[in-house]
């Protein structure tokens, strides 16, 4: 309540103190994201300290962290929520304490819109749609178009939205397709590979045109399974991955991946600008999209050196 402005925890300068509740460190993407935010805060003169807390993919831990930030009387709180629902109370507590909240990456349910200032992040459904657009164009004329899907962690927002967006586009465009199988790879290479192996033994790869993997890691795991079965990834079966890590682009350069939908983790600087603006009374749009791209085979080579993670 009474603490606002620059008298936070910092001691040293009179900049702002910001609390950041991160989902966890469950993927390289996430780690890159944390690093980007932490680096940006450290480099930013306006910010004295960034209180970083890793929620280990547990909403209760994240809520506890936010309560702790309120107790520490930070100037603003950034949350990357693990799920969309269940934030009402703690967001209300923050607003009662007069601390503005900015969401990063994932969003919260629409009904809580008044309780945060803005969300900066990716649009998973849009990512799924981008992937879908490419698939719809590429395979528009393919007779008997067959798809395999490696989904993210069952129940997670990116898994749900990337799936929904992808198939929504295919349906909208009236593409005739068969989803041969869709199983989770839990966003990891290990399970991506194992699941792909089982796909191969169960369905074979013949006649299947496309593999849609909800992230790089699973895609890279699947590529190995495909290679080990004696087929050529990228040629015998085309592959779309989401994320765009170095390794993903490398696979693209090697011709093993056909399309990459970027999900950009390096929005630290953009986030700091938004947060400082918010603390100083600015009122940005409810949603600030992160700049993200889509990349086809001809762009892989050029883009690879720009990759951060």
């Amino acid at each position: 309540g009474e603490d606002s402005g620059g008298d936070g925890n910092g001691g040293g300068g009179d900049g702002y103190v910001i609390g950041f509740s991160q989902v966890g460190a469950e993927s390289a993407w996430r780690t890159a994201n944390s690093k980007s935010v932490q680096d940006a805060a450290a480099a930013d003169d306006r910010i004295t300290e960034l209180k970083f807390d890793d929620g280990q993919q547990d909403q209760e831990k994240q809520i506890a962290a936010v309560r702790s930030f309120i107790n520490q009387a930070v100037d603003a709180i950034v949350i990357a929520p693990v799920v969309e629902t269940g934030w009402t109370d703690v967001l209300t507590e923050a607003s009662d304490a007069g601390i503005p909240v900015v969401l990063a990456d994932r969003g919260v349910e629409a009904a809580d819109e008044d309780l945060y200032v803005t969300r900066l992040g990716s649009d998973f459904e849009a990512e799924g749609r981008s992937a879908g657009e490419w698939a719809a164009t590429t395979f528009a004329t393919t007779p008997d178009f067959k798809i395999l899907e490696l989904t993210g962690t069952t129940g997670s927002a990116p898994a749900n939205d990337r799936k929904a967006g992808f198939f929504a586009v295919l349906d909208e465009k009236g593409v005739a397709y068969t989803l041969v199988d869709s199983q989770t790879g839990n966003f990891t290479a290990e399970e991506g590979k194992a699941t792909m192996e089982t796909f191969i033994t169960t369905h074979g790869l013949d006649g299947i045109q496309l593999l849609y993997a909800h992230n790089d890691e699973m895609g890279l795991g699947a590529i190995q399974a495909i290679e080990e079965s004696g087929k050529a990834p990228g040629t015998d079966i085309q592959i779309i991955i989401v994320d765009g890590s170095k390794a993903g682009f490398q696979a693209g350069v090697d011709g093993k991946v056909n399309y990459i939908v970027e999900c950009n983790p390096a929005f630290g600087e953009q986030l700091m600008d938004v947060v400082v603006d918010v603390i100083e009374g600015g009122s940005p749009e409810k949603f600030t999209p992160v700049e993200e791209g889509v990349f086809g085979p001809d762009q892989f080579e050029a883009e690879l050196p720009n990759r951060q993670f």
Binding site: T184, E190, A194, L220, Q224
Partner: protein, 358 residues
């Protein structure tokens, strides 16, 4: 014929193994029914043995390694929750060491990476053992510490990244290669299995372990170095977890500090118990553990093969584990099978289903 059967059943090892083996056979039969005989029958293509079942075995190798180590730990009345984290540490150290090197194909570098990873994981195992044996901390707590901190250590090693080894590096052979057409992970797991069986059953180590697990105080008074044995067992368990991590990392060519071997400790414990070893310590059955591992490995494929979506993974696993656990219980068998004793023609599985439905 009947006599021979009775003799086999009188053997306590055989009795322990009968039910898990039965369940495994049923699972295999289901798969064969759905996907054909190819499921079990491997074929050689491109100089490598392949086929669904071989794949299952290859993928189960890391779990088998960990479950074997876990069996020994459990025999001493202990438990090791840190194996998943140790797996990640082993993988992280090996991959990081290799990508820090200049020539990722150099034999010396790979050898060094493997050696460092194994030594580190053995040290971690010994640390767990020391906490249990010399500091008298309950095993679940002692190993919980590394379960929490271990993945942090693995991330520290990789700097939070997922180090990727070049596909051309011979290191990946540990996970992907084959010797005499048989995948390397299967060789490694089989070798460790054989070594542990020999070590425990050809020497007196097995009996001493069972004594320590069965009655620690009596063992001490009988002059057994129970503390030394405890440390040794945790060390072996750590080493097995590290080796499993190496295979996992080699298979993918990368090390994921966060997700590598996640929750593998639960599957390992499950395999040990399905195999007939009691969590209360004492008698242990390495072969039973191996069967338990194959059951768990086959289960995942079965779910996909019979066309269930992945929400069913957990549910089906629960049901199968429940069936095995009940079948292993003499009290349950007495309760269910007794009314049928006089009418041996009655289907034995039906009453089991009823109980489950409840």
């Amino acid at each position: 014929m009947n006599n021979a059967l009775n003799r086999v059943l009188a053997n306590q090892y055989a009795r322990r193994l009968m039910w898990p083996v039965l369940v495994l056979l049923v699972l295999i039969a289901v798969n064969i029914a759905v996907t054909g005989f190819d499921f079990i029958w491997p074929h050689v293509s491109d100089g490598r043995l392949s086929g669904a079942f071989v794949n299952i075995l290859r993928r189960s190798a890391p779990l088998l390694l960990i479950a074997l180590g876990m069996t020994l730990v459990i025999a001493t009345k202990g438990i090791d929750l840190s194996v998943g984290a140790v797996y990640a540490i082993g993988a992280a150290i090996a991959c990081q060491t290799i990508i820090d090197g200049t020539d990722q194909s150099a034999a010396g570098l790979i050898f060094r990476a493997v050696a460092i990873a194994l030594v580190a994981t053995a040290v971690i195992g010994a640390w767990n053992g020391t906490m249990v044996a010399y500091f008298g901390i309950q095993p679940i707590v002692a190993t919980l510490i590394l379960m929490i901190a271990g993945r942090g250590i693995a991330q520290l090693v990789t700097g939070g990244q997922i180090p990727k080894v070049q596909d051309s590096s011979p290191f990946t052979e540990l996970g992907r290669g084959e010797i005499l057409t048989v995948p390397v992970p299967i060789w490694i797991a089989a070798a460790v299995f054989a070594a542990l069986v020999l070590l425990t059953r050809r020497t007196a180590l097995g009996m001493l372990l069972e004594a320590v697990g069965g009655n620690p105080e009596a063992s001490r008074l009988a002059g057994i170095r129970s503390k030394g044995i405890t440390v040794l067992v945790y060390l072996v368990c750590g080493l097995c977890a590290g080796l499993a991590g190496l295979i996992g990392a080699a298979n993918l060519g990368s090390a994921d500090a966060n997700n590598g071997g996640l929750w593998i400790e639960l599957d390992a414990i499950l395999a040990v118990v399905i195999g007939g070893t009691s969590l209360l310590g004492g008698r242990f059955y390495l072969l039973g553990t191996a069967i338990g591992v194959v059951i768990i490995g086959t289960l995942g494929d079965t779910i996909i093969n019979i066309g269930l979506s992945d929400q069913w993974q957990f549910t089906v696993k629960a049901i199968v584990v429940f069936i095995v656990a009940l079948l292993q219980s003499p009290e349950f068998r007495a309760w269910v099978f007794k009314p049928f004793k006089r009418r041996p023609a009655a289907p034995a599985a039906a009453p089991a289903e009823e109980v489950l439905a409840k």
